[in-house]
């Protein structure tokens, strides 16, 4: 009996760091932000209660609506491409060869480096008019004066490309999932005369659908919260075309002194994320196979 009590105390002690972190760095700040969303707050003075005014203002804020548009474009452009690319590379890296460990590490590297400031600036310089990309295009006789970051459409694609390039974490999840598929399924299919495409769509894809689902949920959330790329590479430009929601929120908080307004924006984004994730979970039973491999 005494041992059980001690075990309980030990459990509490070991859970305590997480609980403190969870409450101190998540729940409490969220509640404070909810309060701020009903206030006018510039970070320099005490907040003033204004009720729902911030939420009403959001309805008529054209730049905010544009930031939603940019964020959706980015998320819906980058997430499917990233997942497809990660899956393709994972399929290539499935084979066992001597160099495979090195290849896997190399392909994972952009995911580690990709969020760093140095790589973002490198990426920006690569796409300058006088950058590496145009120089390479010039070697093959293409237009070497295209302004990738000065054009609203191509600037968005540069950021999408950067996000797709950071496919490593999705790739590792796919790789782990692919390795779990029993080889007997493929052998049986081969005996039955199944072609490669048929095997992929009828065996591989259904069996890794839980990994696709997981990647889809996580990458969609990451896509909606994208900040670094726009902040470092395009600063939201040109013409607000890459002014992602998180960057717009950051500007309102720290540059414009509208922390109350940006708190309201954060809560709207949370609701939107909840809705999108909820929709994904509702569709799960139609396409995600959770029957196991037995």
């Amino acid at each position: 009996m005494k041992n059980r009590g001690n075990e309980g105390a030990a459990g509490v002690i070991f859970a305590l760091p997480f609980m403190i972190g969870f409450l101190g760095f998540l729940v409490v700040p969220m509640m404070i932000s909810l309060y701020y969303s009903f206030t006018e707050f510039n970070l320099l003075r005490d907040p003033t209660w204004i009720g729902f005014r911030n939420y009403v203002t959001m309805l008529g804020d054209g730049r905010l609506h544009n930031s939603f548009r940019a964020t959706f474009l980015f998320a819906f452009g980058s997430v499917p491409l990233r997942i497809m690319f990660a899956l393709g590379v994972a399929l290539l890296l499935l084979k066992s060869t001597k160099m495979m460990g090195i290849y896997r590490a190399m392909y994972y590297l952009p995911s580690i480096l990709g969020s760093s400031v140095a790589v973002a600036i490198l990426w920006q310089r690569m796409f300058f008019v006088n950058g590496t990309v145009n120089t390479l295009l010039g070697y093959i006789g293409l237009n070497r004066n295209f302004s990738w970051l000065g054009n609203p459409v191509s600037a968005m694609w540069v950021l999408i490309l950067m996000a797709v390039w950071q496919f490593g974490s999705s790739m590792l999840i796919f790789l782990a999932s692919l390795k779990q598929i029993p080889q007997t399924y493929y052998e049986a299919s081969r005996i039955d005369g199944g072609g490669k495409l048929r095997v992929f769509f009828k065996i591989t894809l259904p069996l890794i659908s839980p990994a696709i689902f997981f990647n889809l949920v996580m990458q969609t959330i990451n896509g909606f919260l994208a900040f670094n790329q726009a902040f470092l590479v395009t600063q939201g430009g040109p013409l607000d075309s890459t002014m992602f929601f998180a960057l717009f929120m950051y500007n309102h908080t720290f540059a414009f002194g509208n922390a109350g307004y940006s708190s309201a924006m954060a809560w709207v984004m949370l609701l939107m994320l909840a809705v999108f994730t909820g929709i994904l979970f509702l569709t799960k039973r139609f396409w995600v196979y959770e029957g196991g491999f037995s």
Binding site: A10, L43, N145, G150, L239, F256
Partner: protein
Amino acid sequence: MKKTVVLVLALSVFAAGSAFASGRSDNPGQLRFAWWGNPTRNEQTSKVLGMFTQYSGVQVEEVVTAFGDYFSMLAPLAVSRTLPDVMQHNIPQLLEWVESGLLLDLTPFIADGRIDVSKIPQAVMDQARVGNGIYGIPVAMNVSAMIYDKALTDSLGLTVPRNITLDQFAQLARTIYQRTGIRTSYTGELPVNPLIAHLRGQGVERFVQRSGGGWQLGGTAANYQTFFEFIQTGVREGWHTTLEDWGGRNRSAVNTNPLVYPADLQNPRLRSWISINWANQIEAFQAAANPGQNLALTTPPSANPQRSNFGRASMVWSITRDARNPDEAAGLVNFLINSQEANDVMLGERGIPSNTAIAANIAPKLSAANQVQAEYVEWVNRAGNSTPFFGMEPAGTAQLNAEISLVTDMVISGQITPAAAAQRVFSFGQGVIK
């Protein structure tokens, strides 16, 4: 044993919490000092802070970033009451900080001589005055300016006059574009700078001005429309830089500015022969310039330059509400203002020192670029060459500036007419400034 584990865990959590909570210097003999800078300024300031430590025994922790991130970085510190003891402040933002109670009134320090301002003209000191208080010591005088590539204009046999009018400016821009393909970045960096010159040239003294208990935009929408029409003309004639020319470059970075960025030397389309800026930026621009590029200063173009030209304190040293050692903070401010040795290191990089004795002493030692600055600042401040400027701005101005930048880019890319742009800026401004 278990009790020991619990104790260690509890202490760890407490220690971690304490580490997060700290960040301000409670100990005597320690200060935190914040400034925004550039590579040249950062190196000089670090050296000067080292000299102060040797002189006073007070250790100084540096808090430094680029201007674009400076106030964003400090705002959360204001919330957590961990602002640095001494900070470089900017005249436009000063009022909001004073009204929020974040800065100490320096009058008592001045009155008992802890901060000696006897060599700073009263008119300059008044630029940091709010009500009866002085909330910053002006570091240096600065003047609105157009930095231009004199080597280029000389090579073309062109003269860029002081008090250049809009017509003269447009003619020069046209000629340079036709003969070299090099464009003109009139609104590239921060469109509000040429806009202020444009408005003042039309007789609108203040871009933002007090009205009753609040604030409003100066002038009428028509004043803004002529500004956007001038830009539209430049774009149509080909001499004004476009968004494609900037190509994603950070507008506030000096080293990639089209006036000096080395990678653009071979491509005239990406180059600009000017930057509408501040006179004290010439040192940083010249440092980033290509060999053979000789930069010079003239006044920003306007319909009436004698009316639009202005000088103001470039920045001030302020002591914050969170300073734990105000006496030592005052000592640092006094050192920065009055130490000849310190100013021999800084040599006018922040602008020509407001301390007139120091300014006279360092004049022969200035770099070639700062010699140009000193001559220009003195010229603009001469009677008849400029009019007074009220530099403090209300809350909401940063958001308004961002809107002006966006709308200017929309005019450049043909997405909006000058009339609609003027109306949009004007109505947005009336709603956002408080």
